[in-house]
């Protein structure tokens, strides 16, 4: 498997960074290119700042009448479940009315919707997906040049909680706790980009050359396995080359990152992370660490899962969790909705607001880290009670370095949600004219968001 999207063009950035004239090898960010291949410079700050991309996921959707704004365009109204995003509303766009088109396929609860948003076609099981999830396509395109091609995170403590897959049996496992995230980013391999002196550490060179030796086994190994196993070996060797590339980066002085501040190590995450309060706290700490990882140029792509598909959230002491409530709770006739479900959906939006705020809190250039980022948030269903996959809620945050307009509500009327995936690919410079499969194949991005 040698997809074209692994190609890594590089260019030399010469300029005044951090006051010193230096020449540093940096990858050419496709995001700097418009569709004609012309450079569209992000003009914030003293130099070009990288544009980052990420996803944010929460399970069990929302109650449409209490989430979808009535008005469209800028200054949209905030229904009760969206009230928590008030402080960050100018940075957040709402995309409503985008559907998963089942086209005769079954609706497998909490899987069809999620696979369709992520891969552009619904599947019965994750193992049957026909394409990588779109975040993988994007991180392949933009992730080079930072230490981690992508940081895949889950706030629930379980590394298996990830909706980022290269194929059905290749899951990008999550870093599941704040402590592990900290160790991963700011641990032994970390180079402070703002440190004045830099001396290449021979240990990285040795590691790299040892791995090159492993890579030389490729041909001999391929001869020892059947045809069906070659693709799996290829994936291994692609991962190996990637790791060699990372180690090569460690031998160069990292470009300065003015917003980079090494944070305090978090304590061990204790307690029952299925409890919504514990989860929110843990998620907020992880969001802040991620923001600093981005500011320190450790990664340009990320996935964050707040709660699992078919949400695992509960309130400690309740026999019934959020997910069960979505199906079992009777609609309170006085208010006209399921009160417990409403509560958890609102709590999920609080967490989303926490996440956006964490990125917005980091000053970068003349703006914030969020301005140089594009985040797409989505769930696995809209109305969870009957696993509705029409109108799955989507939100965008950040300006993608000035490429994207924010703070508006865009209402579609039953168009395929693959338009969102295509929009993300194009916003981040992945040269795809169409995306999705079968009834969800589309050539139409959500162009309203582009500047």
């Amino acid at each position: 498997m040698t997809p074209s999207w692994t190609s890594r063009r590089r260019f030399i950035l010469r300029g005044l960074l951090g006051g010193a004239g230096i020449g540093v090898g940096l990858p050419l960010l496709d995001a700097f290119l418009d569709n004609n291949g012309e450079a569209v410079a992000a003009t914030l700050g003293g130099g070009r700042l990288p544009v980052r991309f990420g996803t944010w996921f929460w399970g069990c959707g929302m109650i449409p009448d209490r989430w979808v704004p009535k008005s469209t365009g800028v200054d949209y109204d905030l229904p009760p479940q969206l009230a928590p995003i008030k402080a960050v509303q100018p940075n957040v766009s709402i995309l409503s009315g985008f559907d998963v088109v089942l086209d005769g396929k079954g609706n497998l609860p909490h899987i069809s919707g999620n696979t369709a948003v992520r891969t552009g076609a619904p599947a019965d099981i994750w193992q049957a997906i026909q394409a990588p999830t779109f975040d993988v396509l994007i991180s392949d395109a933009i992730g080079a040049g930072s230490y981690f091609r992508s940081l895949d995170l889950s706030a629930d403590g379980d590394p298996r909680t990830s909706y980022s897959l290269r194929n059905g049996s290749s899951l990008n496992a999550a870093i599941p706790t704040a402590a592990e995230l900290y160790a991963k980013i700011f641990g032994g391999d970390f180079h402070d980009p703002n440190k004045a002196d830099f001396k290449p550490d021979p240990r990285f060179l040795v590691r790299k050359s040892v791995l090159s030796g492993v890579g030389e086994q490729r041909r001999a190994l391929a001869a020892r396995v059947g045809v069906g196993d070659r693709a799996r070996l290829d994936e291994y060797f692609t991962s190996l080359r990637e790791l060699e590339g990372k180690l090569a980066l460690q031998l160069q002085k990292p470009p300065p990152a003015e917003a980079c501040v090494i944070p305090q190590a978090p304590g061990r995450s204790g307690g029952d992370l299925t409890d919504v309060d514990a989860r929110r706290t843990h998620h907020r700490i992880m969001a802040q660490l991620l923001a600093m990882a981005l500011a320190c140029n450790q990664t340009r792509a990320f996935n964050m899962v707040f709660s699992t598909a078919a949400s695992d959230l509960r309130q400690a002491g309740d026999t019934t969790g959020y997910h069960q409530s979505t199906h079992e709770e009777l609609i309170d006739r006085k208010v006209g909705y399921q009160p417990t479900v409403d509560h958890f959906a609102t709590r999920s939006m609080e967490a989303w607001a926490d996440f956006v705020s964490a990125l917005a809190a980091v000053k970068e250039g003349d703006g914030t880290l969020l301005d140089n980022t594009l985040v797409v948030a989505h769930s696995d269903v809209s109305y969870a009670k009957n696993h509705d996959v029409s109108g799955i809620p989507v939100m965008l945050a950040g300006r993608a370095g000035g490429k994207v307009r924010t703070g508006r509500h865009i209402r579609a009327s039953g168009e395929p949600i693959s338009r969102v995936g295509l929009t993300m690919l194009q916003a981040m410079g992945v040269p795809e004219e169409s995306w999705g499969a079968d009834a969800m194949r589309t050539k139409r991005p959500v162009s309203e968001i582009f500047v």
Binding site: G106, N107, P109, H110, I111, S112, I125, Q127, S150, D158, R160, G168, S169, S170, L171, N172, A173, E180, R203, V206, R207, S209, V210, L211, V214, Q217, L221, R224, V225, G226, V227, G228, D229, R232, L233, E235, Y236, S239, L240, E242, L243, K246, D272, T274, A309, A310, D312, R314, A316, G317, D318, T319, G321, H323, Q324, H327, E328, E329, D380, N386
Partner: protein
């Protein structure tokens, strides 16, 4: 032939979606047996599971070497990690983890306290740079790590690389550690590579050694097995038999049995299991760990120490017990450590289904789930496939635990069994799970729910039972259950689902098992012998088995 249905069981949240939804929801039963025949070429590339990796490091370098770090998650396919191991590769994030773990292991192996014992040489006057020492060490360790001898060229390159690295780092042992870390990161170590998958491929002695060792000991082959392979002894049936006998009479055979049942019963999931401590204060993470160990000890007591009838796992009143589990079982626990407890006749507890590991794993964090438990019985012990519920289901009545008129779970479930669409599947799962309702979500006994006596009568297909012990007896007596165990053991050993031309082998294996009074050792022995002859030319294959008749090839 209906298509193969595969589930990513290992990706918990995705599964959770289906599974949790099944807790009282409607499910439709697609007529299919787990792991039905597939026609694609079998894989000859199995990634080491985390347990296999850890055991290999412990065996090669010593149990005091700490294997620290998070592994790429293993993948469970149709109930087995062993099958998922033939599907997965190594992601970029996963390789970083492997490299991290490897460097840490290599550092320990070569550290000042261990190098004398584990490396045993260093630079000297005759060997100034230590090239000869590195060559000898890497050749010796390479055989163990790669489970085959290194070619001369390979060993030369590794030794040269070690000396080169030592020069750059100014430290011989640091250079050696760097190369060792590379070997531990290599696909030669991380995957079991089995030449039999090649067209016309033939198993060599080393591949046979790996197959035997991972099946019977769940670890990399020991020196003696590798030496036997090197001498060509595994090319002849008598040599294979000799090694199988040796491996099965060793205390390490217990590890092979434990590994199979860990995979079968998905006991690895207990590590991630959490219960609501407000509702089940007796159930802590330590309880989950003890419950796992209890089940494994109970199994090896019956199947290894006493070489008993495997079916008795469903009925035995003997159970391994330890202090941590006293509160869950509500019995006084004596002393420290493990001992065998025997429940009296008439006690509601008997067999695997009434152990805390099974009861807690197949339940919600704050309550029971007859549907999850029934589904587990159907899938794990009867090799049936229970699909996810359809999307549009009204669960309201089922899960209102405070319903004033429908006080018990059975009453609530019955209400939605009246719905025809739901009933088609719930009739398969719920009656079995309801038989276990006297055990709560943490596995503790209770006679009543909301002051109402819990009814635990039901039917396994046509045969009635009253309570968990009788349900266990029905499974004990079920030919489908014993055939399912044989089929799952075959899938476990082969790391794949059977193809049409494997069904005769499985049927023969089943006859062997029945003929041997259901002794698990007979099943493992047959599997081992078969695995060490599979892929070799006709001469050795099936020498002991005889021809299977056509009718026996039909899987029931």
């Amino acid at each position: 032939m209906s298509r193969l249905i595969v589930r990513l069981r290992r990706i918990a949240p995705l599964v959770l979606a289906g599974v949790v939804a099944a807790g009282g929801g409607a499910i439709m039963l697609r007529a299919a047996n787990a792991g039905e025949p597939q026609e694609t070429a079998p894989s000859g590339l199995r990634r080491l599971t985390e347990a296999e990796y850890r055991n290999a490091i412990g065996d090669i370098f010593g149990r005091d070497i700490e294997v620290a770090g998070r592994f790429e998650p293993d993948l469970r396919v149709e109930g087995l990690l062993a099958v998922g191991a033939s599907r997965v590769s190594v992601t970029r994030g996963g390789l970083e983890q492997y490299e991290d773990i490897a460097r840490n292991v290599a550092r320990q192996v070569t550290d000042a306290g261990r190098r004398d014992k584990l490396v045993g040489c260093g630079p000297s006057e005759e060997d100034v740079k230590g090239l000869r020492c590195a060559h000898a060490f890497l050749t010796r360790i390479g055989l163990r790590l790669y489970r085959r001898p290194l070619a001369r060229r390979e060993a030369d390159a590794l030794a040269a690389s070690a000396v080169d690295a030592a020069g750059r780092l100014g430290d011989f042992h640091a250079g050696l550690a760097a190369v060792l870390a590379g070997m531990l990161t290599s696909p030669e170590f991380l995957f079991r590579i089995d030449g039999a998958a090649l067209a016309g491929g033939q198993l060599d002695g080393y591949a046979k050694a790996s197959r035997l060792s991972f099946l019977l000991w769940n670890t990399t082959p020991d020196d003696e097995l590798l030496a036997a392979a090197g001498r060509g002894e595994l090319d002849a049936p008598a040599g294979v038999v000799r090694q199988v006998d040796r491996l099965m009479s060793s205390p390490r055979y217990r590890d092979g049995v434990r590994a199979f049942f860990t995979d079968l019963l998905q006991l690895d999931e207990l590590g991630a299991l959490s219960k609501d401590t407000l509702i089940y204060p007796a159930f802590t993470p330590a309880t989950a760990e003890a419950a796992r160990e209890q089940t494994l000890r109970t199994i090896t007591d019956l199947l290894v120490d006493r070489d008993g009838d495997t079916r008795d796992l469903f009925t035995s009143r003997r159970i391994a017990m330890t202090r941590e589990l006293g509160p869950v079982y509500d019995i006084p626990v004596r002393g420290a450590g493990w001992y065998v407890h025997e429940f009296p006749a008439g006690d509601p507890r008997a067999g695997l289904l009434t152990q805390a590991s099974f009861l807690a794993l197949h339940a919600h964090p704050g309550r029971t789930s007859p549907t999850l438990r029934g589904k587990a019985i159907r899938e794990i012990f009867l090799c049936e496939k229970v699909p996810s519920p359809p999307a549009n289901v009204n669960f309201a009545v089922v899960q209102d635990v405070n319903n004033p008129t429908l006080k018990t779970t059975r009453a609530r479930l019955q209400a939605h069994l009246d719905d025809e669409e739901c009933a088609s599947c719930h009739k398969r799962t719920d009656p079995l799970g309801l038989g276990l309702e006297q055990f709560d979500g943490a596995g503790q006994f209770r006679a009543t729910e909301h002051d109402e006596l819990i009814d635990v009568t039901g039917k396994l297909d046509a045969i009635a039972f009253d309570g968990a012990a009788e349900l266990g007896q029905r499974l004990h007596d079920s030919p489908e259950a014993s055939a399912c165990l044989v089929r799952t053991a075959w899938r476990y050993a082969n790391g794949r689902d059977p193809r049409a031309d494997d069904l005769l082998d499985i049927a023969r294996l089943n006859r062997t098992f029945v003929g041997a009074s259901y002794r698990f050792s007979a099943l493992m022995r047959s599997l081992a012998l078969e695995r060490a002859t599979d892929g070799t030319p006709a001469a050795g294959r099936h020498a002991a088995g005889g021809k299977a008749s056509k009718s026996a090839g039909k899987f029931s």
